[in-house]
Subunit: 323 residues, 4 copies
């Protein structure tokens, strides 16, 4: 049912974990061509969804590849030590993508989104907290500590500010500086408010066209960019249409103990459309404290990136090295 | 019904116009002790709700006073000339509060809200676009053009940033500089998404405790501040609980053509609570383009204020005079 | 003498007008291969320095081309109407570069500099005030008013933030979107504090390597970018070494009425070096009100660009059209 | 001589250490009524200037009290560990002012200066990095760790933005919330560029009228505020007039090996005035990397404050606890 609503409102299911849950919920069994692994930590549960067969792409609505989901409710608590441990879990999950690179490989961080709209600002904020070193490697290689990598960073802005498709700007820069790897940070939409700023998805397939809350028109992936693209995404909103659908469902479930009223999917869609019509359904739900949630999550991501990319830096170094 | 939901989720109905509509919708007749006037312009409809009797305060949930609502759907369009005309309508509605003041009266503008969270940033952004002159009057009175007033401005921030109740900061400053009038700009919550950044409310009763999307604990009004307080409020969000309620209603209305299922208010509340539970129901709905809507609305408000406060300035002057 | 100091401190003379004045001051006659024209307006004096012969390039330290200097002391006054007229003069000087372009030509605005360091933030601030339309042309061409052009914008940041040479980022984007013209806005260094935020230089030769206060290493010009580049530069600082030199000169001039002490250039250089040594001479002088000067100048430039690029927009439209 | 120049340009000598050095330089002996102590650390030298007699006030141009100067050239290096140790030295020097306070005392941090002008933004930036807890103490006292204090924070802006004297805003807030101690952070002017962002002064006399680079008209001290005021000041600029004077001096010293030209103070002043005339001498010298210097120094100060005010927090906690 949620899939129906998402389709009729043009909403993409950004998290592979959610896509799988919904599909399994409807069919009751594992999706063919999908393999799932799990790791458990004190602060987080990690689920690795592998889409290993072409046939599963269409079902999941996502390209073949690995989707690692870190679910860490502690991110919503005021718990610095807990956040730091999530940074370490993130670093551990990123490590297999980084460690095979030659020591002098260039890594380009890209923060997607609009820095002037809070829920879409996660990418630019994480970029602003990241340690950039590529120019140091070029101009003063010997001053650098061991255990650092050559990192550059870009926050290309959004179409409304630049007049240029984001993917075009990135592609232009990638062609010039030819990084060995891109890591793209983006805000996602989830189908449940529990996921807002508590779930981090790492995907080795990059950014699919139309995904993320910015609905970027073009994909940012190995195909379009010519280099491997790791996407780090965090849900920061839920579409209001999904909330509408869930509310009707929940109401009917409450009702069914008494009567036998089943859901009329068509009428539900019309009801939601009617309520959300003024902005063409393009409305999202966020918690009030979204600003500090985004700030904390950006820190956790920048921290995790730093632990992986610059393993030679101590935590203390790191907090001061930032520009 | 909406009133029920609002009460159970602790949501205030910030717009007097909406409170009246909902109450009339339930009773079918004008609320005793409330008088309503209307003005029509090409770009906006202006409704003036006067709560004139003490008895109406409890029903409306608002103190006695005048609540002017400017409904201007053009604010959501990319229509600069239209926006300018809304500024003029705003200036016209503010004028009766300003013109009785002596020429050298001090007016303190206060922008409530958190500049780092987009929907709550309307007040600080409007302040940032306003022309501040009090210091010029003090140090170089003769250089000033006629038709300007002595204006000072404050964006006190929010509790989480300062550790101090906003009303305490403002009260402290008011006691020092003793303005003749305060104009406070705040972000509100509406009960319909059509109102987001299309409706401007002017209230001569100031800010009620618990109102606005920041849920400021203390009131900011003539009683607490010791000077008259005009509040300019614009809805920038709708509470997700209200969206949930509306969706169930809409669904049941659709359904009723076939069956006869009435709304079970208790179950509806439970359903909504269940969906929105993770953030204690403290979730709000905003359109994606909220950033540019806030920017435009802040401009319209700053423009309207300027036309009223500094009638001697030409539009051209104004756009350059800003700090 | 100033040339000596500049050379020994690695300071470029960014303004062609100043280079010419200094050279003429030393030789007493017009530099061969340089032609000069003048226009006078109420608010500004416009000097057009044409370097027309190859031989003059080395003398002037600037490539062959046209350097238009608008000297407008009114920019430092609190005079909105005066500023607006400078915008109009700027538009008039830019017009010959824009009008020959076909109506659907793409123009890329680039704001050089660091938005976090006030005197270097002129470019990014002017960009932030500019009307970007390229995406509107692409997705909804018919909604656009006549008299608008397709404009995109980029504020690429500085090496320390991105780890990437600014020219590389721009070149990458230019290759993707292939604009017909680039207009680059940059902060310059002048040799006299009177010029800070009162002089605007338009150069059809783009940005020379090492010029501007950001000392960008690579040139941004037709040669490196493959498209014509107009540079708009405004001095926002004077190098402290130049101030030092001027002070010694002025002192000795004062002294000479009494004694006959000539300047010992070598000793002067040593003296300056000694005073400014801690930052390797890399110190600049700015007025305290630099923040509001930058703001005003950015407005004048954005205003002038808009008048030229979107002649169909009224002033009123413009002030609201901004994102 | 420097004192002459400072007086004729209305420049205050913000650092007690420098005032003493200059005065001693002229007289060759310790100033009567002034006592000096010293502490040496690996990363910093600490000098404690005590003005203990009324008579010394006029000579030093500063009220009786204690002026602690931390000279730490490491602050200009890219040396995170070194910076952290300076934070610890700062904490140690602040500790005697904090520890006598009762455990539930309220401490108000005030960041003076204009957040939009880089060298004047130190105060607001340090405030933005500080952990604010007063509201937590008020609403959820039991959730707080031991070893934390009740801290609130204010960045009142500058006269040009608010139209209100900064001291008036602060006084108003102080009267409302009645803190037991104020700690005010401000940008200072030094007489030598070596001090820019390498020297931290702690003064238990607060902020003198006219001091700091913002030239705040009114004092912020125990007398005006009614509570003890600790001022933390860091030089972020040198007045250009001081640079001019130093250059002439240095030149003449170079010259004197050959000739016997002494300094004519009157002519020097005229020379400087002539060079700096356009902005009334109100010009300051800053290094190009001022943005990152301010950022680092703000971190060191916020870190030092946190170590003193919240000794129960680990470094790790701290970096995450920030709003």
């Amino acid at each position: 049912m949620v899939l129906d609503i998402c389709r009729s409102f043009g909403i993409s299911l950004d998290l592979a974990l959610e896509a799988r849950e919904i599909l399994r919920g409807e069919t009751g069994q594992e999706i063919p061509g999908v393999r799932v692994d799990r790791e458990r930590y004190n602060e987080a549960e990690v689920t690795i969804v592998n889409i290993v067969e072409k046939a599963a792409e269409a079902i999941m609505g996502k390209p073949m590849g690995t989707y690692i989901t870190i679910e860490a409710p502690v991110l919503r608590e005021n718990n610095p030590a807990g956040h730091h441990r999530v940074s370490q879990i993130l670093a551990r999950q990123l490590e297999p993508f980084i460690s095979p690179l030659p020591p002098h490989a260039n890594i380009l961080l890209v923060g997607l989104g609009n820095w002037r709209a809070t829920p879409d600002a996660l990418g630019p904020r994480a970029i602003g907290m990241s340690l950039v070193t590529r120019h140091l490697f070029q101009y003063a290689p010997r001053e650098l500590k061991g255990g650092m990598r050559s990192v550059s960073a870009l926050a290309p802005g959004v179409l409304g500010i630049t007049g240029i498709e984001t993917a075009e700007i990135i592609k232009g820069v990638v062609e010039r500086i030819q990084p060995e790897l891109m890591i793209v940070i983006d805000s996602l939409a989830a189908r449940s408010v529990t996921r807002i700023c508590t779930t981090i998805q790492i995907a080795d397939t990059g950014i699919a066209p139309g995904s993320g809350i910015g609905n970027r028109r073009a994909g940012i992936n190995r195909e379009s960019m010519g280099v491997p693209v790791i996407a780090i995404g965090v849900p920061t909103v839920v579409h209001a249409a999904v909330i509408g659908q869930d509310t009707i469902n929940a109401y009917l479930r409450q009702l069914q103990t008494a009567t036998n009223a089943g859901l009329n999917q068509h009428l539900a869609r019309q009801a939601i459309q009617q309520v959300l019509e003024p902005f063409g359904g393009n409305l999202t739900v966020t918690p009030k404290e979204i600003d500090s949630l985004i700030e904390n999550t950006a820190k956790v991501i920048a921290g995790g990136l730093s632990l992986t990319l610059h393993p030679g830096l101590t935590a203390d170094d790191y907090s001061y090295y930032l520009h």
